[in-house]
């Protein structure tokens, strides 16, 4: 299982915004900070935290946080 509090902490750290709260439906357009550069930082931070490696194709099809969570679960087994 993926803990949304852990994921939320990663988002807050990368976006440098303590006030954001993410849920499964959250998507890039919901956050001003979620631009292409931060997207890459987000990938790196998530990979580091969960000790996993996404493929480029996996990352490119994400449309919301739930997609990220599903891929984390898939890679963690």
């Amino acid at each position: 299982m993926v803990n949304y509090d852990d994921l939320n902490a990663i988002f807050r750290d990368v976006f440098e915004n303590e006030h954001i709260t993410i849920d499964a439906a959250s998507k890039a357009s919901d956050f001003e900070e979620w631009d292409s550069l931060n997207h890459i930082y987000l990938v790196v931070a998530i990979e580091k935290f969960y000790k996993i490696k996404f493929t480029t194709q996996q990352i490119q099809v994400w449309t919301c946080v739930e997609d990220i969570v599903n891929d984390i679960i898939k890679l963690k087994g």
Binding site: S36, I40, Y41, V44, Q57, Q60
Partner: protein, 442 residues
């Protein structure tokens, strides 16, 4: 250049991307999908590479061999660059990539898809549209709506004003200065290069406004291509406002894939991605080393703020609050404008050495100053007055729009505004010097 036989090229390019999209959707095997995507991107690009870059590659290879003392005969082909090829090729590529990344489904209607690739307002000089943005608009039934006529006409009038009053008038002076730069003083060369920076904006953004206005008449919205780029506060901000459709294309299909590939390299991975993105931007603009150098210069201007900052990269990306734009912002915008002007010297001249010679001439001839150099005939005085007047009108009005976060179509809604602009176009327009749009060559 246009020739009826090039319609077969357009048809081939359209079919390649359409068939590519169809096959991509027929399998879920990741490796197979990747192979299909690469094959069809290669096929799409090979047409562009042949027609746009073949002679450039041959000439570069021959001069490289000659520099090693190997004598070769030059065999280049008489290849004509088909109009709009860079734009419709990129439409097809964006369609294939978006299906590959499962952002869109393949389109069933090949007629609507062909319209997306070859939609006439944007066929020759963009904006580069995305399948996900344009195709859904082509699918729905549109009814004639009198309400869209006003903003559509205001966009078209504004575009014609920029093109006929500024670009074509300024173009005459700019052509004079750049083609005989050895004969002008430093002051005139600086003036000429600044005028070219205004000319290219008026020309290209003018075309984009006309294209968006024409399309609006049909009830189809095109992407915003320019968002007051000369009020940008740094180079990152500039590239989010200049030729936005190309910048976002390169961001999605070049920058992000490379940055993801090199993400374990930290900041260096971002530098590599930025460098290659601008390199490809330069190559896209033309088959010549000067365009490539222009791209590299922009990478050089873009990167230092990242390299010499301890902040995270993202905090350097400006979230522009246009309403509080003040004197310090104006100073920053001027700095950006001058860097853009410097790079455009290489964009305007045929070779890199010409660009350096032009800059060398600027440093040499400070001792002679004469207004007659540029305004030496009555025609020159008239076109110079027209272009300066036009620039003032456009930038004062655009500053008001920028400060109030508006676009031109939000402002010109009363019919008398159109009449005023139409009157100014006929009064100041440079009809006798009318030239092709600069971006038609790409």
């Amino acid at each position: 250049m246009w020739d009826w036989r090039f319609t077969f090229l357009l048809l081939t390019s359209t079919l390649i991307s359409y068939i590519g999209g169809y096959y991509l959707n027929n399998t879920n095997n990741d490796n197979y999908r990747k192979a299909i995507m690469r094959l069809f991107i290669f096929l799409s690009l090979s047409i562009l590479l042949y027609f746009k870059y073949f002679n450039f590659f041959i000439e570069s290879a021959i001069s490289l061999l000659n520099s090693f003392g190997l004598e070769t005969n030059q065999h280049t082909l008489e290849i004509i660059l088909p109009v709009g090829i860079s734009f419709y090729t990129f439409h097809g590529i964006s369609y294939i990539m978006d299906i590959y990344y499962r952002r869109i489904n393949p389109h069933n209607d090949i007629v609507a898809y062909s319209l997306f690739v070859a939609y006439f307002p944007l066929l020759v000089a963009g904006p580069i549209e995305r399948a996900s943005h344009l195709l859904p608009q082509l699918d729905i039934k549109r009814n004639f709506n009198l309400e869209v006529i006003k903003p559509a006409l205001s966009l078209m009038f504004w575009g014609f004003f920029k093109k006929l009053v500024i670009a074509d008038s300024a173009g005459m002076i700019v052509d004079d200065v750049f083609s005989n730069y050895q004969n002008f003083s430093s002051y005139s060369l600086i003036f000429g290069s600044i005028l070219f920076t205004f000319q290219i904006y008026a020309d290209f953004s003018g075309y984009s406004d006309i294209a968006r206005g024409v399309s609006k008449l049909f009830g189809i919205e095109l992407l915003l291509n320019f968002n007051f780029p000369y009020f940008a506060k740094n180079m990152q901000d500039f590239w989010s406002r200049w030729h936005i459709s190309l910048s976002s294309f390169l961001n999605d299909y070049v920058f992000i894939p490379i940055a993801l590939k090199f993400r374990d390299f930290g900041k260096r991975g971002i530098y590599i991605a930025v460098f290659f993105t601008f390199l490809i931007s330069g190559i896209w603009h033309g088959a010549g080393w000067a365009f490539i150098f222009w791209g590299i210069l922009h990478a050089i201007f873009y990167l230092p703020q990242f390299i010499f900052s301890n902040k995270k990269l993202k905090s350097l990306v400006v979230k522009t609050n246009t309403s509080t734009y003040g004197f310090n912002d104006f100073v920053n915008s001027t700095e950006v404008f001058l860097l853009v002007t410097l790079a455009l010297i290489f964009f305007r001249l045929p070779g890199i050495s010409d660009g350096f010679n032009f800059i060398l001439e600027i440093t040499k001839n400070w001792d002679r100053f004469s207004l007659n150099e540029i305004a030496r005939t009555t025609t020159h005085i008239i076109v110079l007055t027209k272009s300066i007047l036009g620039i003032l009108i456009v930038f004062i009005l655009e500053f008001i729009l920028f400060k109030n976060n508006l676009q031109i179509e939000n402002l010109l809604t009363k019919i008398w505004h159109y009449l005023c602009i139409a009157f100014l176009i006929f009064l100041l327009g440079s009809f006798e010097n009318a030239t092709q749009f600069i971006y038609f060559q790409f």
